[in-house]
Amino acid sequence: MNLVAFWIFGGTALLALVLCVTRRNAVHAVLYLLGAFLAIAAILFGLGAPLPAAWQVLVYAGAILVLFLFVLMTLHPPPAMKPRRARELVLPALVAAGNLAGALALVLAGSGGREGLPGYVLPPAALGRALFADAWIGVEAVSFLLLFAAVGAFWLGRREDPPKERP
Amino acid sequence: MALYETTFPWLSLVLFLPLVGALGSALLARWPAACRALSIFASLAELGVVAWLFLVLRAGGDGWLLFEDHAWIPAFGIRYTLGLDGLSLTLAVLTAFLQLVAVLSSLGREKTRVGLFYALLFAMESGILGVFFSLDLALFYFFWEVMLIPMFFLIGVWGHERRRYAAIKFFLFTLIGSLLMLLAIVALVVLHGQDTGQYTFSLLALRGTQLNDGVSHALYFAFLLAFIIKVPLFPLHTWLPDAHTEAPTAGSVILAGLLLKTGVYGLLRIGLPLFPGPAAESLPWLAALGLVGLFYGAALAFAQKDIKRLIACSSVAHMGLLAVGLCSMNAAGLEGAVLQAVNHGITTGALFCMIGMIEARSGSRDFERLGGLWGRAPLLGGFFLFFNLASMGVPGLNNFAGELLILIGAFRAHPLLGALAVGGMVFAAAYTLRLLQGVLWGPPRDEAPMADLSAREALTLLPLAALVLLLGLQPGWLQEVFRQSIRALPLALGGGAP
């Protein structure tokens, strides 16, 4: 995947993300994000990670964003979007910009000069072996994490009827 | 090395016997009567053992009378080393004796949690004995801290109105001092280790460390501060009146009788020998602080409204004089100081017992509500007068013997120091007479008949009175016990003209 294709997908992803972040309407934001994820999936594929790309589409786009939409739909009155006063924007924006600039500077400064590497593709089988042979500890740990998350989500999300109104 | 090559760990027995008492009374908490009986029995047993040791070993010898040494934490070179010489033997007997007095004086007067009360008392006794016996700095520090905790609870739980404030103040004062000391101990050990390659906490080994001037001064100051707070010397004394006034009777007896002496013992055993150079330089300052404490304590005592607080402030004055004796650095002064340590323990301990009795009868410790006690309880009044005379330094009673030796030592060290210290006698008389006037003489507040001394109270006071008279007329037999061990301490003993 040559450079041009990479930046095409990259550009679209960035554009989608910018639009997602600035939306007033939550559903539009999620949809833009969906677009961005798909572009990133393509890039992943380009970088020689076919299985992750597939999972990106399946899980990130398919499961997570769908979940977002699902939750959004259940909130009867859609969450009202109060405009943020400009004055409050200044400090967070500064901090975000600062981080962005810092990271970019670091990346640019630390260039290793490895241009044009020959394509490296990791077949899914190799990935599977690496995952379950070498890094099995990570998988177990993550599985615990998922279990706890499930319990947490279930506990937080359950419907108390009637919902107690607290000040 | 020990004089008696007994393999039987006498010192450990004496050290941990009180803990048995503590455990027993804690377990018997639900049966106060049994608890009290056990406490009396345990303190008697302890006193018996220590007294027997005293009689056997009092002939003394120049080495350690008893010595025990086992590895404790080899990694850091900490050993479980206990040593007994004349000095610690004398103080150990005082500890055991005052423990019995404290137990006897609080029978039936502990308001709550009888079992815990006696358990704490015994734990503290074991802590104090640990301080007197241990020759390993880590062990010394361990017992130095263990000693505080029971006293903190004794004041905090069984105290009077401002007990929390007093307990916390007492604890913080001593803790800050001892933390500094811990720092100094560790520094000393490390420096010694680097110097000689052998990391050990043993006091005897550490005495030889070569330190450059600045460091040895700093370390000496840290040790000194910890001990001065305990003695207490002038600026660092404000915890004493509060702690004494708010502590229950038993607490005050042990606090006045023993805890103050651990400061003096620390100076004698550890502070001065470890850093002879800086110690010699600091002596004039210590003597000055002692003198200021003598007059300041007396002035403070004179203005008190609470009789217990008056006696607490008088302890500041007495310990000031004791510090002067300590700083005279000659045989007479040092022997006087140690003798005075024992005398003060007995006299002030007795006075605190009596204050407890007076408070139990009249319900108050305030001058305005006391008076004319002599008419209503002549026997109680008689003992109170007797012990106050002793504390005032009337010759023929015990404090005078100590004070005379201290004054001789001080005069020999520096005539002006001796002359000023003698001046303290007038102020001692001033506040003691005010106390007598307030409590004994004058018209009785109310004509309600007041119970005179009960058999148990008389039993507590009689041995104290006997000791006061015995030490007053014949202090020699006690001086012999610790004379050799004082001479053996590597202090810069200035002799002065005989």
Binding site: A29, L33, G48, I64, P79, R84, P92, A97, L117, L156 | -
Partner: protein, 102 residues
């Protein structure tokens, strides 16, 4: 695809920047979650780029773990959003002041 590492990292950083600004600026809990999601995705991208650059499978292994973490995070995040919404009728983060204390 011989994309130099720097380019990939550059992209990842850009995505991360956008995600961070969204998390910091937007008021609604939803958008905070989205911001976090984007940041995680950027991290994943960098991991895979690294794996490609050093020809090691580890990057992608971590990517898989990262995926699971993201999923767990979203699950809890959204249930929080639901919970918040039910209780306070608003998704606004600044409403949550009950921890203030005084």
């Amino acid at each position: 695809m011989n994309v130099p590492l720097e380019h990939a990292l550059l992209l990842a950083t850009a995505v991360f920047g956008i995600g961070l600004s969204c998390a910091l600026i937007r008021r609604e809990l939803l958008f905070v979650l989205l911001g976090v999601e984007i940041m995680l995705c950027a991290a994943g991208l960098a991991l895979v780029a690294g794996s490609a650059a050093w020809r090691q499978p580890d990057g992608q292994v971590f990517w898989m773990l990262l995926l699971a973490i993201a999923a767990a995070e979203v699950a809890v995040g959204l249930s929080l959003l639901l919970h918040l919404h039910r209780r306070r009728r608003t998704g606004d983060v600044d409403e949550l002041r009950s921890l203030r204390g005084e």
